[in-house]
């Protein structure tokens, strides 16, 4: 009997773990549109334009009450952008009559939760937050509703102004679903809520006290990071960068410098994606990176996500941080951290030793976006939600009042209210607007993004924390083989 008891208990536990995997097969995904020409997303921010008036009046008699009484469900990742939306939900419901069931969860598990919800094809969520990289996976799986079905139709308010989005940002959310093709063409899979460039934030007080000039080149950054090791006793260090074994470690500073160095993740050869992480540029850059982290990074780098990087910068334990611009900006707002007011913003340190100049600076782009579930039963109401919370009026308010400084709208970026609101952050506007010129997604769009970048991050961890490899070249050669295997089933047209 006890044997049966033990067997039953063990089976019950396993059954619990498998509870989420018993759903039926996913329906056919035919959302991928025909291949189109790749487009370059590295488009400069347009010259200052006149901002549309922040007038909430219904232009052209647009009927905001068309879906009065409907109810939609929204799942967001906890973030400043999501906070701003949450604050205005009441006004949205008042204006449209659409009730919103809103929930949010921490970023750490957000995408895993979203994966489960979307893969069930139940339409339990109508609108959700996503990133450009994740949209490559969701779009090919048929989880995303193409938004050209709504943009420019009579379901869109004339005030909404699609053309006001910064081209490089809105194009980052377009893709033709052909692995290896650049983003910028094909369907519009999501709308931007905010975007981030990855630049250097430094504590001017700490650098000044240690007689160090703000680094402009990669070499100066390495030298400064080493010099600042334990500048304030045990645990203090020069440069905070991410180190967890996932895509989050690769996409901000590492990928920005990797691209600036001239390296690529994949190239198309004979109709297949081929990893280029063992190219001379990639190896040279990674050698630099390992040196930088080992000798100038956090002692517990391998456990650091963006939260820990920001916390150390705000606590005055890290002298510099290379991460999303808004991470440093948030630590600088009055009352947000011990070191608030001491931050200043640099650009992307470029490697002079590799023959690069300031003109070669590249920043990898992250776009927090809003997408519609292809299985939603209330797509029209969902679209009303999306256009309301990406409208010029809302974005001007969230950019100025709610610290959503990485605005995707040209009219907001060029508005005096916005410029005034970020004026206190030394160098921020200059850095953001300059780096934006060369900001783009430097990853190759492909549906195995999560796997390939996870393996990449694990290799970096091994290089920094172990003696597993005799050289960076050996590690990157092995990583190349792994990445090639992961994408081996992809056919590039």
């Amino acid at each position: 009997m006890r044997k049966v008891l033990a067997l039953t208990m063990a089976a019950a536990m396993v059954a619990g773990m498998l509870g989420g995997c018993g759903s039926a097969a996913a329906p056919a995904a035919d959302a991928a549109p025909a291949a189109t020409e790749a487009a370059d997303t590295t488009e400069a921010i347009p010259a200052a334009d006149t901002a549309p008036a922040a007038d909430t009046a219904d232009a052209g008699g647009f009927d905001w009450k068309k879906f009065d009484g409907e109810e939609i469900t929204v799942l967001f990742s906890e973030h400043t952008y999501a906070d701003a939306v949450e604050e205005k939900l009441g006004e949205f419901t008042e204006k449209t009559g659409i009730k919103v069931n809103y929930s949010s969860m921490p970023e750490g598990n957000y995408f895993e939760k979203l994966n489960v919800e979307l893969s069930s094809h139940s339409g339990s969520i109508d609108v959700f937050m996503t990133g450009a990289y994740q949209s490559w996976e969701y779009a090919t799986a048929g989880n995303l509703e193409p938004l050209e079905n709504y943009i420019g139709t009579d379901l869109t308010s004339p005030d909404w102004n699609y053309d006001d989005f910064i081209p490089g940002v809105i194009n980052a959310l377009k893709w033709d679903c052909v692995p290896g093709h650049q983003v910028g063409s094909g369907s519009q899979w999501a709308l931007p809520m905010g975007w981030e460039v990855n630049i250097l934030t430094y504590n001017k007080k700490i650098l000044g006290a240690n007689g160090i000039e703000p680094p402009k080149t990669a070499e100066e950054l390495l030298e400064a990071s080493k010099a600042l090791k334990e500048f304030d006793g045990s645990g203090s260090y020069g440069l905070a960068v991410r180190g967890l074994p996932d895509w989050g470690t690769i996409h901000p500073a590492y990928m920005s410098l990797y691209s600036t160095w001239g390296a690529k993740d994949f190239e198309i050869e004979d109709g297949k994606l081929v990893s280029k992480v063992n190219s001379p540029e990639a190896v040279a850059m990674t050698e630099y990176w390992v040196d930088l982290v080992k000798n100038g990074g956090a002692p517990q780098w391998a456990t650091y996500g963006w939260e820990m990087c920001g916390a150390d910068l705000g606590a005055g334990k890290a002298a510099m941080m290379w991460d999303a611009d808004r991470g440093g900006y948030t630590q600088n707002t009055p009352g947000s951290s011990n070191e608030a007011g001491n931050m200043a913003f640099g650009m992307v340190p470029y490697p002079e030793s590799a023959g690069k100049t300031a003109a070669d600076m590249k920043s990898n782009l992250w776009v927090w976006s809003m997408a519609m579930n292809a299985d939603s039963a209330k797509k029209d109401a969902a679209w009303y939600f999306m256009q309301y919370f990406t409208s010029p009026e809302f974005m001007l308010w969230s950019g100025v009042e709610k610290a959503c400084t990485d605005t995707p709208r040209t009219s907001v970026l060029n508005s005096q209210e916005y410029k005034d609101s970020v004026a206190d952050a030394e160098g921020y506007y200059e850095a953001f607007s300059t780096v934006s010129q060369n900001a783009s997604i430097f990853f190759t769009a492909q549906p195995y993004f999560t796997e390939t970048t996870t393996e990449w991050a694990k290799t970096l961890q091994d290089l920094v924390t172990t003696n597993k490899y005799s050289s960076v070249q050996e590690a990157m050669d092995e990583l190349k083989i792994t990445m090639d295997e992961l994408v081996s089933d992809l056919e590039v047209e």
Partner: protein, 310 residues
């Protein structure tokens, strides 16, 4: 004659009220439903392990034992088995030893202080493992953590904790012990308080030492309770996921990628359920074998404690 007898029996059966005849089936029904509820996902899991089921694919198809062959040929699988076993064994042994020691001390003290301690010691069990891990992550942080400050007093600086492969396993086990030792204490304490008093009184009259009492009376009679505690903790420790995920997500490198974490990563992060499920089924097999063995040992200890063997 026989036909007549059968007819009589049938007639007598019809005289039994319907409620009485149905009652045995009603009694069994809940167990049957629960068993089916358990077995259906389990059987489905075995089926999916033989398919290429993935969130990324529009449909799935039968691929035989490819997922199993790939898993067995992957060096990271054997690493995951090793991590799961090391984590399960070391954390359970430590928790059993510390839990037994503390429970005996509390039982012997039996005063106001012990009553207060009994309440306080349960606190870690009331905290969600992920929350407990985040608290420990902050405490162990080399920049702002209190543990770093304490170690500085002894001349230890920048101890890597979970950030280095050599110390990462030790760190997650430390947190597991902090969270779960209270569970052992509670079970063992309950076991100690249910022991009969007379053998101890006889031993006292005969001048038995404390060590004699412990090895010849307390431990043999307590063994059934100890095995129950061992059963629950070992099974839970083998499945451990929350502490590792919250602290390092399985890193650095693959140094903490247990079977649970590997299955989670393949299933939920990479969206390849067909490839993930064999890892869970192997974990189930390990847990099943271990649980069976512990139950046999518990039954034997129960008999010994009841004087049925010797």
């Amino acid at each position: 004659m026989s036909a007549k007898k059968n007819s009589n029996m049938k007639s007598e059966m019809n005289k039994v009220p319907l409620a009485t005849r149905v009652r045995p089936y009603l009694i069994v029904a809940p167990s049957l439903i629960i068993t089916i509820g358990i077995m259906v996902p389990f059987v489905m899991a075995i089926w999916y392990s033989l398919t290429n089921y993935s969130f990324k694919l529009p449909t799935h198809k039968f691929i035989g034992i490819d997922n199993w062959v790939n898993m067995l040929g992957d060096s990271s699988f054997w690493g995951a088995v090793k991590i799961s076993l090391l984590y399960g064994c070391i954390s359970t042994i430590l928790e059993m030893l510390i839990g037994l020691g503390v429970a005996i001390l509390l039982n012997n003290l039996n005063n106001g202080l012990s009553r207060v301690l009994r309440v306080l010691l349960v606190f870690p069990l009331m905290v969600a493992p992920v929350t407990a891990t985040i608290i420990w992550q902050l405490m162990l942080n080399s920049s702002v953590g209190i543990v770093e400050k304490l170690l500085n007093i002894f001349g230890v600086y920048n101890f890597p904790w979970a950030a280095a492969p050599e110390t990462a396993l030790m760190t997650v086990i430390l947190i597991d012990v902090w969270i779960n030792t209270a569970f052992i204490i509670l079970l063992v304490l309950a076991g100690l308080q249910s022991l009969p008093k007379s053998p101890f009184e006889s031993a006292k009259i005969d001048g038995g030492s404390a060590w004699f009492n412990f090895t010849n009376l307390t431990l043999p009679m307590l063994k059934p309770s100890l095995f129950i505690a061992l059963l629950f903790r070992f099974m839970a420790a083998l499945q451990e996921y929350a502490v590792i995920f919250a602290l390092t997500k399985g890193g650095p490198g693959d140094s903490l990628m247990s079977l649970s974490l590997t299955a989670y990563q393949k299933g939920f992060k990479f969206q390849k359920f067909g490839a993930a499920i064999p890892y869970i089924l192997v974990l189930w097999l390990i847990i099943n074998i271990a649980a069976k063995r512990i139950v046999v040992m518990q039954r034997s200890a129960q008999k010994q404690a009841s004087g049925l063997e010797e």
